[in-house]
Symmetry: C2
Subunit: 565 residues, 2 copies
């Protein structure tokens, strides 16, 4: 950060205090003044180059609509009346012009967004004079321009008919600290219509999350229609309407990509596959076997008979067919919570192991190699849950990406094994924790990962905790996750937003705020709350049912409800 930025940040903070400016994630380099600007009635957004890609034009049109429709009051006691009055004679911003850096040509946002993780260029600059006139966003890619548009759209408030912002002149130079910034949704415990997923993608894009991890099937249901295996969803979707057709999948991928989001699909194997038994009982050990708690972490039990060649071939074929539906360079084969007693009691598995002389772990190794090689054969990188490294004797390719979910303390072990890591730890990022026990006949049952993970807890996460400096480069980023045993379309928004925005700032802004202060300590949390309120209120204006983080009394009085205020 340059000196100018540091000097200007105190001014920024006075303007933040004035306006509760909702830049989220806050840009990595930010220099602001304290003057207001108004949006001209004829304000328009254009590109400095001809024939912008359709998805960029669409993004510009959406941004223009949001500027008109957000109608967000500043979160002050007087609902921004004094700020608006002061801004009523401010200079007008007449246009926003998007340009690409010299020598760069405009590709579709959608193509830029689905590049391999680490190759997506999201950098941009945004500059606005205190005298209004023309604002400028410049980037190396349309994806960067899109991120800049998103930032621009967070600046403005409306009181009566005046659309205004404070903090000019404004200079932003911004790019993400981590390339993987995600949200995971489980659509197997309960089904979510396409429209819910699309609405979630919108909200993700507004906080610059760039990876939708779609845990699409599981033991409870198989909603994905796979052309080569129609019997899977045919027999194990919750209903004929509770499915994702190839067209639905394509629509979701396109919707996501146009918003700078790549879709990582997960077909969890070999565990979490009971649903396959409805049409392929020959491939599933201990399907719906009881007592379920002996054979699975949750009902129903059922796992792929991975020791069987026939089951391995079936799995490879299924994974390949699914992978072809998704253009992402990433594909998750799962690999969590493999239940050994299930296989110990499965006659067919034991017979095969006896015949081949393999141990269960050796069979798992062969199965994993087969499925990962198939994924690689399609040009994709395999992604797995942490047990594949920490609990099994499986030889994984060096390219494999590991998601750490059980505990953030397990990150160190995975890093020591030398794999790239996505943070997904239940002790920080599981949005479903704290909702109580859900298995029946259980009066005293609580959430296994109690307590509820507040935004503050998530926000305090340090992606580099316990890692050597050379290990730090293994961290690709992280994600928030919603497992949906107790969620459905009815509570999707409230359980996810605004909490999932914590991960968005952790992995975009990184360890330090633009003034050089630490993001994830108590002071960082204190400074973030007013901006996060603004995120939540703006999300609501945009149709996302984000919860109230505090009484409105607190939201309109930054700091007044802090524990030590």
């Amino acid at each position: 950060m340059n000196t100018l930025t540091c000097l200007s940040f105190s001014l920024l903070f006075s303007s933040l205090t004035l306006t509760n400016a909702a830049l989220w994630p806050i840009p990595r380099q930010l220099s602001t003044g304290d003057s207001p600007l108004r949006l001209s009635n004829s304000f328009s957004i254009s590109t400095a180059f001809d024939s912008p890609p359709v998805d960029l034009s669409d993004a510009i049109a959406r941004t223009s609509e949001l500027l008109k429709n957000d109608k967000l009051d500043p979160l002050t006691v007087d609902h921004g009346a004094a700020l608006a009055k002061n801004a009523s004679s401010a200079p007008e911003l007449t246009s926003l012009v998007l340009s690409l850096a010299d020598g760069k040509t405009a590709q579709n946002i959608s193509d830029e967004a689905i590049k391999p993780v680490g190759e997506r260029d999201e950098e941009y600059t945004l500059s606005m004079s205190k005298d209004g006139g023309e604002a400028k966003i410049q980037a190396n890619s349309t994806l960067g321009l899109f991120r800049g548009l998103t930032t621009f759209g967070q600046l403005w408030y409306t009181v009566d008919d005046t659309i205004f912002a404070y903090g000019f002149p404004l200079e932003i130079t911004d790019s993400p600290a981590f390339p993987y910034r995600g949200f995971m949704l489980d659509t197997a415990r309960n089904y979510f219509p396409v429209s819910d997923i699309q609405r979630t993608l919108d909200a993700m894009s507004w906080v610059k999350l760039n990876q939708f991890h779609w845990h699409i099937v599981d033991s409870q249901s198989f909603p994905l229609q796979v052309a080569a295996f129609p019997e899977l969803s045919g027999s194990a979707a919750y209903s004929s309407a509770s499915v994702y057709s190839a067209q639905d999948v394509s629509d979701i991928i396109s919707y996501a990509a146009a918003r700078g989001i790549d879709v990582l699909v997960e077909v969890d194997t070999p565990g979490h596959t009971s649903a396959i038994a409805s049409s392929h009982p020959e491939h599933i050990a201990c399907a719906e076997k009881t007592p379920w708690a002996t054979y699975a972490n949750e009902p129903p039990a059922g796992q792929l008979r991975f020791a069987s060649d026939s089951t391995t071939n079936f799995t490879v074929s299924l994974l390949s067919e699914v992978a072809k539906l998704f253009p992402s360079s990433l594909f998750s084969t799962g690999g969590d919570e493999i239940n050994v007693p299930c296989y110990d009691e499965d006659e067919e598995t034991q017979q095969i192991l006896n015949q081949t002389g393999k141990s269960l772990e050796e069979a798992l190794d062969a199965f994993t190699e087969a499925s990962h090689n198939a994924i690689r054969g399609l040009g994709k990188t395999p992604v797995v849950w942490e047990e594949m490294v920490l609990s099994h004797n499986v030889t994984l390719g060096n390219d494999t990406i590991i998601m750490v979910w059980i505990s953030s303390e397990d990150v160190q072990g995975v890093a020591e094994a030398g794999f790239r890591i996505v943070h997904a730890a239940s002790d920080y990022f599981y949005l479903d924790c704290g909702g109580g026990g859900w298995v029946g006949a259980n009066i005293a049952g609580n959430s296994w990962c109690d307590p509820f993970k507040t935004w503050q807890k998530s926000y305090s996460f340090d992606p580099f905790a316990n890692l050597t400096s050379s290990q730090q480069s293994l961290i690709l980023g992280g994600e928030s996750l919603l497992w949906t045993e107790q969620s459905s379309p009815e509570n999707l928004d409230p359980i996810v937003w605004p909490r999932a925005a914590s991960a968005a700032e952790i992995y975009w802004t990184g360890a330090t705020l633009p003034d050089g202060s630490v993001r994830n300590d108590a002071e960082g949390v204190r400074a973030a709350l007013p901006r996060l309120h603004d995120v939540a209120y703006r999300l609501r204006k945009r149709g996302i049912k984000a919860i109230a983080l505090q009484p409105e009394w607190c939201a309109r009085r930054p700091g007044a409800c802090d524990i030590d205020a």
Copy 2:
């Protein structure tokens, strides 16, 4: 319960298993067969008497609409296909006739519903032959007829165009075990539009809850418009739109009453009154004084200067004006969480105490007597929180009703003091517990009343625990409560439903299920889950965003996800 009922209950259970019949609260006496019936295309509901009250006619019309529009599948794996096929040639039910017992005349439901607690006649009988034809509801009052209509509306499922039910012949004789069955909403921490409250009242009525406890104002905001004190909402509502006008209040009361629900309003005093300082600083001690944690349980601090005659007069006048807006026989003056250090440091209070020679407790006693006498003067019964009995030396009239909130263990002490009791204990009935800490700058903050109160935990409550048999008559019933520091319209439904239905069955059905088994033990919880799933799915069909209690896989397989299944 008669022998016939006991004999028939095993048949009921086989039909419940077939259909997951969603009778909730389950009637106290229930005798069923196992035959199906269909609703005739020309099915109609009528009264056996002329000129039914408009609110009864409206209730009949609403029931007819729900029968058509619920379109609820039976919660079976095949979505009721087999049941519907079997029912497709079943006898038709052609009509439902409502009649009053001999000598009874039809009053408005709305008038019956707001009678003093204990004087509301909610009893009814419902009978239907296995041959279809005419169904009959009989009651002593239109309120009883309305409860019977509600039961009737829970019986039916729709597959394709067939509306059917199982379990005939059916004989129900039903009445509530407790007269007070409530839900409390706090509209001061965050504001809820009238439409949200009305939707909540609908859902309450569907599970026969009969008391809406409206915690309408608090320290954070004063949304209630009081004609004699327009400055209160004028200065301390969150916005000019975030108010309840006299017309809004009247609309909510009417809407509730027509649905068999009485509205108990609470104006919490002398604590929880900081909002009054915006327009009447002379009456509030330590208004917004910091650090807030020294002077209040949550921000902002501020309490009525109850030692002052002027403040007492103001309070009496305010309570009286509010009480006149509500026809209920109940009125709550609050009385919880009085902060003593606030008064110790308040110069004006100390001056008055010195002048009068009174202790703070003596002043509180006089203040409470004045406000309660004013309430009684309007023909109402005062309601207070438990501290008024357990923490202060206040002389309360014997008529006073005490709400126990801090812990269910405090019930015994209140009963020993001889007061009537409404259960509202945080360890069973606080719907907001488990949502994490909400004060800012607090990374490790959890919910003070962790963990989340699951429906199972609430359902396991015994209203008579630790009470002698003579004390049991003091229990009027109970309620679930939503404090809204972290709630707003965005998550109202998901946080309340279907959990608030637990209290509905506790206080309607009582200690035993109609087969004589215990309601609140592990087996009772096990038996309740399939019905509660049905409640939740039906609520969703009716526009209430009730959460998923389990994966749909479990909902369609009763018992399969029990902890010991």
